[in-house]
Symmetry: C2
Subunit: 255 residues, 2 copies
Amino acid sequence: MEYKEYIEKFFNQGHKHYLSHISIDCVVFGFHENELKVLLLNMKNLNSWVLPGGFILKDEEMETAVKRILTERTGLTDIFLHQFQTFGGLSRSSFTVPELFFKNLQIKKDSWMFDRFISVGYYALVEYSKVKPIPDILSEKCEWFNVHDLPELAHDHRHIFDEAWQSLRFWINHYPIGYNLLPEKFTMPDLQKLYETILDRKLDRRNFQRKMLATGILNRLNEVKPGVAHKAPYLYTFNIAAYEKTLKTGFGFAL
Amino acid sequence: MEYKEYIEKFFNQGHKHYLSHISIDCVVFGFHENELKVLLLNMKNLNSWVLPGGFILKDEEMETAVKRILTERTGLTDIFLHQFQTFGGLSRSSFTVPELFFKNLQIKKDSWMFDRFISVGYYALVEYSKVKPIPDILSEKCEWFNVHDLPELAHDHRHIFDEAWQSLRFWINHYPIGYNLLPEKFTMPDLQKLYETILDRKLDRRNFQRKMLATGILNRLNEVKPGVAHKAPYLYTFNIAAYEKTLKTGFGFAL
DNA sequence: AATCATTGCGTATATTTAACACAATGAAAA
DNA sequence: TTTTCATTGTGTTAAATATACGCAATGATT
């Protein structure tokens, strides 16, 4: 029974490989059908969900750990990451499970996994269609949820999510977004809907277009979106050089 | 020899009371004689300096730990705190000391203090004149330094300081500042110099005054600054209610 | 009484934001 | 074929905000 062995080793020996008392929690945002989505996991036999997370190997950079964790959950490499806050509440434990989870498992009462954890929060922006959600060893499902219709989250994960979203809202007023979140080619309405969804408010179509074009981060292609029953919008790609540059300097306006 | 015992216990037993692998580093800003200052410590017999820091007790909220640490270093309670980033580099150890530090000390080679640390960075804003800098048990001096003339800092503390200052610069464009940093009564030029020092650039005197007054966070007193050889500026206090409110909502302009 | 650095308030101009008008497009309907 | 219609691309205008100065008032110092 390989699973049993793995779990027992993780609980009983994990502190030898991972930094104890420190966990990573990730809020993975995707955009699909004009909705902002978040990736959640749920435990076997437990009806509350949790954010994808994990631990830092003793010889691993923290950010490398986050990328490793997210690659395991999504299949993607090269994910946009942003550390937004670290959570140090007193009653934080890395997870909860129903008692029956431990049935047939030989796990020490003083396992590092039952200790208090300080958790470093990252949010990630990914291209929805490229993600293959993969549950981790402790969970059963890994699914997307609309940010407006989240299930009950365990621990303080609802709070972590709220802080992540707020941080993201703040971020997009100062830095470009969309690369990593939209397909390679997209239209101006697509981009606008992304902004509207994250900011959770309507924007003026015409002013939005003018501002975005003024930033210089967009390339307008000599193509329009096919198969629309009205005037077809141009397709755009991001001007990567300008995009990367603006990621560092920020742009001066707010939407 | 009480000191010897204390140090040995801290190194050899500390992991029983503190969360291992996690440290706190604080960038304490003060303002004095129109200069932005930072509080630094230095080790006995070591000529590089470090930021004030410490560890989290197992039954203590993280933010409580930060306040405890800062109260120990400054004598102040009720300090403005802002968590700005968490540092997870691979080669982070909580401290370095010269070999001779361990002379006559019985310290285990595998002490928790030699492990790798993830450090949560906070900056603090304090009223310079009220601070009584107090070295910690491992250090000899605790002194203020002009941010433009810092000594060599150990580990990645220079990087941590840079990030803190940048975060503070960003912050003051959106939220009020000055309370906790200026004396109770201050003049408009005082406040402006504070902003100029943090932002590291000149601001127009007249526009600054107009904007600050428009925020409503200032009370103009029926007093002027005494003992000046020219037109005496009004004294102000902060309107605490409005200040607190704006701390939550932010104000809409940038300087 | 004159000097002078500095303050408080005002104004003129440029820049940015917000709100809206209108022709162009092209598939779908008539 | 022609008309309809939702939607796009661009332009225009008014309001709000930011920036750059002008100038009289102040009050210790000369």
